[in-house]
Subunit: 246 residues, 2 copies
């Protein structure tokens, strides 16, 4: 499985993904789920993916190949020249549909799943910062004021802490803390989600990544947060009112 | 959906279930998931169920009907005269298989699911307190020293807090607090799990229920714990170390 979150704050986009994939429990590998593209000051875009890895890697490969062809002079639309974040989400959706058309029927014939989800988040200097969730069918939804975060993969373990903390007005540093704890809880409770993690921050209006970090298990911030939280949970527990037994 | 937990502590069994069922999101009802049987000082048994409600209600009806027939003088084995908790789990499993044989093929023919899970927990004066999870196929697993709690239904949201707190040595009052918070987190994050909840405690060796409580949303303990925890989470958050943005 996988766990990836895109949070859309008034202050910017905060993104985190794990790196574990598994085909069964005895075939566990490490693959980057987060890919980023940047023309500093003009556009910063990130994708994170879950589901069938051959499908999502295929989508990323096609997006990258298109960028190379455009750089070589070919006149094609890519996520680096598309005019809006909405159009970029459409391009990812169209590429998803192409991959599904190529592989879905044979995958299902052989008893495998072809489903995949891709989070697309970013900002162009010509528009607002936005975050989308692209489905296998190429359609997508967008994070809004009411639902400022999108999760894919093993999303349930880490949802309560995000539900409690995240609003559009949450500052980036607080969202980061909530995101670390959301990932920490998921990794503690589910073997199919694992370190290291990738973290990205795109501050509103900057159109560049202010943070692009690989978080390893020995990362000092990770350990400090994980340990402080574990202590705080224990401390909070000790102060809880008793439940009457009668 | 549903959320039910059975915790097996050295000090006793602590059980909690919600009461929400849904067939789609527009057909939500309230059904008790927890059933209890008690011969004080001799045996205390509880079941909690998830999955197809017609199947699990059918199992409970058959278990209860057998008890009535035995009380009327018929010589049949029931969960109130079975010699061990293990045999009681087998009886629940056999009853599950009978219900599956009766309805599964027609249910599946019509596109519905027949899967169901039943937690069976209790103690007989002749043996140890035990907790089992009975599957649709009638087979079952048991809570052990390594895994002292069993969850059915929407188990992921509320697992992290149990993972952090519950060991066999956890006292009953602390386990109760963790269980309330586990249920609280699940209800906050998933519409298909809802109040009121049912709570039962069987202290080790007592062979009776020391606690049998229906917890309503306005329950004072529930509100105090839920609010104190929400405040503590916010307080703990404020004391978290910062994540470096570079």
């Amino acid at each position: 499985m996988t766990y990836c979150v895109a949070i859309k704050l008034d202050a910017g986009l905060v993104l985190m993904s794990d790196t574990r994939t598994n085909a069964g429990v005895d075939n566990i590998s490490r693959f980057r789920k987060m890919y980023t593209w940047e023309i500093p000051g003009q556009r910063a875009i990130a994708t994170m993916s879950s589901g069938n890895l051959s499908i999502t890697q295929g989508v990323i490969n096609r997006l990258s190949a298109a960028i190379k062809r455009a750089e070589a002079g070919e006149e094609i639309e890519t996520i680096l020249n598309a005019p809006t974040m909405f159009r970029i989400a459409q391009i990812v959706g169209e590429t998803m549909v192409a991959m599904q058309e190529r592989h879905r029927s044979t995958l299902i014939e052989q008893g495998a799943g072809a489903d995949a989800l891709i989070l697309v988040a970013g900002q162009l200097s010509t528009g607002d910062h936005r975050a989308f969730m692209v489905y296998s069918a190429g359609n997508f939804i967008e994070a809004t004021e009411d639902t400022p975060f999108l999760q894919i993969g093993e999303h349930k373990y880490g949802k309560p802490i995000l539900d409690r903390v995240i609003t559009p007005q949450t500052p980036v540093n607080v969202a980061l803390q909530a995101l670390f704890l959301s990932m920490d809880s998921t990794i503690r409770s589910n073997l199919s989600v694992g370190m290291p993690c990738d973290l990205a921050v795109i501050p509103t209006g900057a159109c560049r990544f202010s943070t692009l970090r690989r978080i390893n298990p020995e990362d000092e911030d990770w350990q400090a947060l994980s340990n402080t939280w574990a202590d705080a949970i224990r401390g909070a527990f000790e102060k809880l009112p008793e439940v009457r037994l009668e």
